[in-house]
């Protein structure tokens, strides 16, 4: 039986092991080191939630605190990546991408293409996303769909401690820019994680539960909501197959299509707002490529088209719940042509 650690510890371990293995890996971000000049805890904040705690003590200057200027340090990290380092840059909340979007989508994402493959940009941008943390409209969004839309970026959204370690190590070894999206609510989630270093390839979805009646395609924290719904539905005789995309770019279309061809029904669960999202993207792909297999219209379970509310009661209503997912499954199951 493997050892159990949290999602947050698994991220730390991945960074630690890869920094030990590869001297070119560096960390940059706001408060990732500490830098107050004090002792112990004073000088080891390890980021806003303590994810990089302990690394500054071990790797010194390879863990760099930056000014509160995402445009500046993300740009510097992109440059460092083209010059041979492998920066892991922390963009505290995905909501802040606006201030450094040029560095990401118009610089990092384009270099390999524009320089005929001669330039590589092996940068990882770690960032927190998602609602449920009472952090209000500017710190709770689910914007991975925007990065997914940009050719040249890889987008990773791990759902479990096992996956987050293997995918982060893969991200650091990858030679292209990777946007690594961590859901803050998952940080305390415990799971089996091997002590050794290992990787999980991008573009391989994980079938977390096998079933025959309906396919639920989802990603990130929503995997857990979907699994809860699937457990409830199994007691009512509905067999759900839950597909965790793991990465939205590259996307494992094959697994999605094979699953829908087997079940004939699709529910997509996405924590983003409903327009131009992973939910609409998956729905379009399935409608186009597996139309003949569908026995019912596709259902999407998403957040509503509003900012994330600060009011706790409203925020709880905002995030797709196991109950809403189960309702959507019942709709596709009950459909009669």
């Amino acid at each position: 039986m493997a050892r159990k650690i949290t999602y947050q510890q698994a991220i730390n371990e991945a960074l630690d092991q890869e920094m030990a293995r590869d001297k070119s890996v560096i960390i940059m971000g706001e408060d990732v080191a500490g830098g107050s000049g004090g002792d112990g805890e004073m000088d080891a904040w390890g980021g806003v939630l303590g994810v990089t705690k302990g690394l500054w003590g071990k790797y010194g200057d390879r863990v760099m605190d930056t000014p509160i200027s995402e445009a500046g340090y993300v740009g510097a990290a992109v440059g460092a990546a083209t010059a041979g380092l492998r920066p892991v840059c922390e963009l505290m909340f995905i909501d802040f991408m606006g201030v450094c979007f040029d560095q990401i989508y118009n610089q990092a994402a384009k270099f390999r293409y524009m320089f005929g493959g001669k330039a590589e940009t092996p940068i990882v941008i770690r960032t927190m996303y998602g609602a449920g943390f009472r952090a209000a409209a500017q710190h709770s969004q689910c914007l991975y769909n925007m990065f997914t839309a940009v050719p040249g970026l890889k987008v990773v959204i791990p759902s479990s401690p096992y996956d987050v370690k293997g995918l982060l190590i893969q991200a650091m070894r990858d030679n292209d820019p990777v946007i690594f999206c961590e859901h803050k609510v998952l940080y305390t989630l415990e799971g089996d994680v091997p002590e050794e270093s290992y990787t999980i390839p991008f573009g391989e979805a994980n079938i977390v539960r096998e079933g025959n009646d309906v396919t639920i395609v989802t990603v990130g924290r929503m995997v857990h909501q979907a699994m809860e719904a699937a457990t409830t539905l199994a007691k009512e005789g509905v067999s759900c197959e839950v597909v965790d995309l793991r990465t939205t770019s590259p996307l494992d279309e094959e697994t999605i299509l094979e699953s829908v061809e087997n079940t004939g029904r699709l529910v997509v669960v996405d924590e983003s707002t409903p327009r131009c999202s992973i939910a609409t993207d998956i729905s379009a792909i399935v409608a186009q490529k597996a139309f003949g297999s569908l026995e019912a219209p596709i259902e999407m379970v998403t957040a509503p088209h509003t900012p994330v509310p600060f009011n706790g009661t409203l925020e709880d209503q905002y995030v797709p719940s196991p109950g809403k997912i189960a309702d959507a499954v019942k709709i596709v199951m009950g459909y009669k042509a």
Binding site: M1, G166, E196, T199, E204, E210, A234
Partner: protein, 372 residues
């Protein structure tokens, strides 16, 4: 008096990591008169799907577990009792059983040290192993290429009722050191010898599967005193043919589909290879250092032309201990023909219709042989 004739059929524990199993399908009706070893129901664990065989003879009076139920180890699956036991007595038995049944606490197991696995240093390697049973007799199980101690999922516990049974992860495998120093059969044999010495094992019944068979045989040739009895299951080292396409495919693949196809070559019944088994193998292969280790080990026993390099068939006759060969006739990795024309001191057992992983596919037959 009558109550003692009622027997509970419970969720088995197939391997150290198994905490629960999923009931797939009953293969017999209530009222069936079961003989020992009869197929009773299909159970799926996180590792593998398998058929549960009757551990007690008698009439299946009740099916308690329903298909799709996920039940902890030791949970009641069914009740066996003679016809003279009344329905009321069976009801009372079930009530008592359920009242006394305590599901195993997975957390408790972990406190004892990662769930029964132990580790030691030998010959420059960190080796993980599991130990079951406390008997004076010592049995050591050696897995094959790409396997680990879990290849003995259905072997280790049954044998441990009257013996101390060890199963180790060879170098490059499981949770043991991935960096290989000497990947030859002899090099690996020397590591297993060092492992035995580290545990103060003077002499053991060695059971080796596939490459593990060649390693066990090599140990018996190098230090015969260490081996009281030798069982070679679908063993390497007894002939030149081997399915090198499987070996090379296993080393190079990183795709679920391909891995599934490859693993299906290991068994006669392809349905035994489920998603979890495929995932487990991919997880293993995606661990740092594993592919390099597998490559090194493969060149240690396979020539560039794809044939086996270390063939010990001609030396079998000189072994002083009892030697037995067990093979499934549908082996697609190493042909069961290698069990033919062996010297007379070797007992030969061909199991009809099973594949390379015969100890998993025909667990009760293999276990009965190993225990005899």
């Amino acid at each position: 008096m009558s109550e003692s004739q009622i027997v509970a059929m419970t969720m088995p524990k197939w391997g150290l990591s198994m905490t629960e199993g999923k009931v797939m399908e009953w293969l017999v009706e209530e009222g069936t008169d079961l003989s020992l070893g009869d197929d009773v129901l299909d159970i799926e664990t996180e590792k593998i799907a398998n058929t549960f065989e009757a551990l007690d003879a008698g009439i299946l009076r009740r099916q308690i577990a329903d298909p799709e139920d996920v039940l902890p180890v030791g949970a009641l699956l069914g009740v066996i009792a003679p016809l003279e036991i009344t329905e009321d007595e069976i009801d009372a038995f079930i009530v008592t059983f359920l009242a006394n049944y305590v599901p195993p606490e997975p957390e408790e197991e972990e406190e004892e040290g990662s769930g029964g696995y132990e580790e030691l240093e030998a010959n420059g390697y960190h080796l993980r192993y599991s130990k079951m049973g406390t008997g004076d007799k010592v049995i050591l199980l050696v897995h094959g290429f790409g396997g680990d101690a879990d290849r003995w999922l259905f072997t280790q516990q049954p044998l441990s009722s009257n013996a101390t049974v060890y199963a180790l992860d060879l170098p490059g495998h499981g949770k043991s050191t991935k960096k290989i120093q000497d990947g030859s059969v002899e090099g690996l044999a020397k590591t297993v010898i060092a492992f035995m010495k580290a545990l103060d094992i003077d002499s053991a019944h060695l059971v080796g599967h596939s490459l593990g068979g060649a390693i066990a045989l090599k140990i018996a040739l190098i230090e015969p005193a260490l081996v009281s009895k030798l069982d070679l299951i679908a063993s390497a080292g007894l002939g030149s043919e081997i399915n090198n396409e499987y070996i090379q495919g296993f080393i190079s693949t990183d795709s679920r589909k391909e891995m599934k196809k490859l693993l299906q070559k290991l068994v006669a019944d392809p349905d035994l290879v489920n998603r979890s088994l495929v995932n487990d193998m991919l997880q293993f292969k995606r661990t740092d250092g594993v592919n390099a280790a597998l490559k090194t080990i493969s060149t240690g026993f396979i020539e560039a032309d794809g044939s086996q390099s270390d063939i010990m068939k001609e030396e079998l006759h000189q072994l002083p201990m009892p030697v037995r060969v067990i093979w499934g006739t549908k082996d697609q990795i190493i042909p069961s023909a290698h069990a033919e024309s062996l010297p007379p001191n070797v007992e030969i057992n061909l199991l009809d219709g099973y594949g390379h992983l015969v100890q998993l596919e025909a667990a009760s037959e293999v276990n009965a042989l190993l225990a005899s």
